[in-house]
């Protein structure tokens, strides 16, 4: 099979998964006991009123029609109307999405170089002090709840040292210093788990290459350790490393939910939590789909990079 066919297959399978995921989300959120019409009118509503509102909301149509409508709406960029805000879901999300993307981009910009540095140096000194410290702290960090990191961060940097704000303000005309100060704590809290995962996987990818015979050859030739890693190992490990980065970044999705809530950050994840509390089903469904799509996109990117980086597939 040619490499392009392989990639196309992977993309098609991701799209199919996304469709199935949307079906699962629709089924779960459609099972809401006591439907939205009842919820909106309260206990005192007569059955006729409820029936009328159900009809207005289109809830009396068969489930598969509603599912088709909903998926069609999402694809065309109109996933319905938010019940609480009484605004199109698309507008509510358009307001929040850039904030979350900015937070994710900043976290990626911070974690990627740092994890590369930690992972590569740990791999070069395998079994050394740095390497052992890395493996223990990775183990601990992966098991740490995000809100612990965030609350400890607030306690140290906002309460004790009074250096950073404990709530993240988002304004369009922030000066640079202000901007950095307000994003430091959320980015740090998100980064802990991501760095732990990413540097561990980078380490594994580099060690995998260091075990290859060509490294031994280079060593016998008398090439220095740094030169071996830079000239021989990294070009070969770049595929697995980028793959590891994409996979680790998917941890951001879960972390964002906690971190955005703690810092009162006006992003998509805190919007979704609000949608759960206020039982705003259309908004909740749309947010869930965005997160699932982002997750699948990262996994797909990781897969495609792995395929592209595999030299055995190029020759076929």
């Amino acid at each position: 099979m040619s490499i392009y066919r392989l990639i196309l297959n992977r993309i098609a399978s991701a799209l199919l998964t996304l469709l199935l995921v949307s079906l699962v989300i629709f089924i779960i959120s459609d099972l809401l006991p006591g439907d939205a019409a009842q919820e909106m009118l309260g206990q005192s509503a007569t059955p006729e009123q409820v029936a009328a509102l159900r009809h207005d909301l289109g809830l009396d149509r068969p489930a598969y029609v509603r599912f088709g409508d909903w998926v069609g709406g999402i694809v065309s960029g109109d996933p319905g109307t938010s019940m609480v805000a009484n605004m199109p879901v698309a507008e509510v999300i358009a307001e929040r999405l850039p904030n979350t993307l900015r937070l994710a981009a900043l976290t990626a910009a911070f974690t990627v170089p740092l994890s590369l540095l930690i992972g590569i140096s740990a791999a070069m000194n395998r079994g050394g002090r740095l390497d052992r410290m890395l493996s223990i702290s990775t183990l601990a960090m992966v098991a740490m709840p995000e809100f612990l990191v965030a609350t400890l961060g607030v306690l140290i940097f906002s309460v004790k040292l009074r250096l950073l704000p404990s709530i993240t303000m988002v304004t369009s005309d922030q000066p640079w210093g202000e901007f950095l100060r307000s994003y430091t704590l959320p980015v740090l809290s998100l980064s802990v788990v991501v760095i732990a995962q990413m540097s561990r996987m980078t380490r594994a990818a580099v060690i995998d290459q260091l075990n290859q015979p060509y490294v031994e050859m280079a060593m016998l030739k008398g090439v220095g350790r740094v030169a071996i890693v830079r000239r021989h190992v990294l070009p070969n490990a770049i595929g697995p490393i980028i793959n590891a980065m994409a996979l680790s970044l998917s941890y951001l999705l879960g972390g964002a939910i906690i971190v955005e809530t703690i810092f009162n950050y006006p992003g998509l994840a805190s919007l979704m939590v609000n949608a759960v509390t206020s039982r705003d089903t259309p908004l909740l469904q749309a947010c869930a789909m965005i997160f699932c799509a982002a997750y699948l996109l990262l996994l797909l990117a990781a897969d495609i990079i792995a395929i592209l980086a595999n030299p055995r597939l190029h020759n076929k």
Binding site: P33, A140, T151, K160, L253, I258, T277, L296
Partner: protein
């Protein structure tokens, strides 16, 4: 067995035993009733009467923590057990059942695994609410696909082994092969997987409670304890720090233990 564990494993084991005992017998040791207002002062610091201070309503944090362990440890252990057993059961069914069944189950689980666990749990909580039994089912349901995936790959590999093929030629029934030949050889790796699921569920559950979507007042697990005392953060009250650290010691302890047990084999 214990002696052969590395130091980190021993620390992990001790932490796990400590939390298990706390969850079982903690409420008996609590100096104050869980909901009692015992201090006129709120967010008081560590003192001889209140070993971990008091919370935002002047309740004893130590007692609330002892009661909270029951929810965090007990609920997570029960949910992890349910997830593992369901996952293993479905995996065995897929491994010995018809190819169509295997395809269907695996496709379904692949779909479920493509939904980030926190997102899935939020959607489930929104749809069904968050009473204690529902939380248990929601946490278990969220982690069945992961358990299934690992159990299935183990079971499918084992099903190819010679001794299983021999059993098949002998004419043993599907269920005999699944339960008597394949299952016993899966137990050990699945135990490590159970430990990991437990950690994930503790984190998920306390995360939900922290958002106010998990264990509901007057009941409180560690996550709710952090949430309800969040206003004490500005004073650095033990009421918010202690439960957060409690979660970390529990999850890190389990992780250390699993890691040590893996390294031994």
């Amino acid at each position: 067995m214990i002696r052969s564990l590395p130091l980190s494993g021993k620390i992990g084991l001790a932490t796990v035993i400590f939390w298990l005992l706390t969850a079982m017998f903690g409420p008996l040791l609590a100096p104050h009733p869980v909901g009692a207002f015992v201090d006129m002062d709120v967010f008081s610091g560590i003192s001889s009467t209140f070993p971990l201070g008091t919370d935002y309503l002047g309740r004893d944090v130590f007692s609330r923590l002892l009661y909270g362990a029951r929810y965090t440890v007990g609920l997570a252990a029960a949910a992890a057990m349910l997830a593992s057993i369901t996952g293993i059961g479905l995996a065995l069914t897929a491994a010995v059942g018809s190819r169509v069944l295997d395809e269907l189950l695996s496709r379904f689980m692949d779909t479920m695994i493509s939904i980030p666990s926190k997102i899935l749990a939020l959607v489930l909580v929104a749809a069904f609410g968050s009473s204690i039994p529902l939380l248990l089912v929601i946490c278990a349901f969220t982690y069945v696909p992961g358990s299934y995936r690992i159990a299935r790959s183990l079971a499918v590999n084992l099903a190819q082994m010679d001794y299983v093929q021999v059993a098949k030629t002998q004419g043993e029934g599907r269920w005999h092969i699944g339960l008597r030949e394949i299952l016993p050889n899966m137990i050990h790796p699945m135990l490590a997987d159970f430990g990991l699921r437990f950690v994930f569920i503790v984190l998920l559950l306390s995360g939900l409670s922290f958002l106010g979507l998990g264990v509901q007042p007057p009941e409180a697990d560690f996550g709710s304890l952090v949430r309800e005392n969040i206003s004490g953060l500005a004073e650095g009250a033990p009421a918010i720090i202690v439960p957060a650290i409690a979660i970390a010691t529990l999850t890190i302890g389990v992780n250390l233990l699993i890691d040590a047990m893996r390294g031994k084999r």
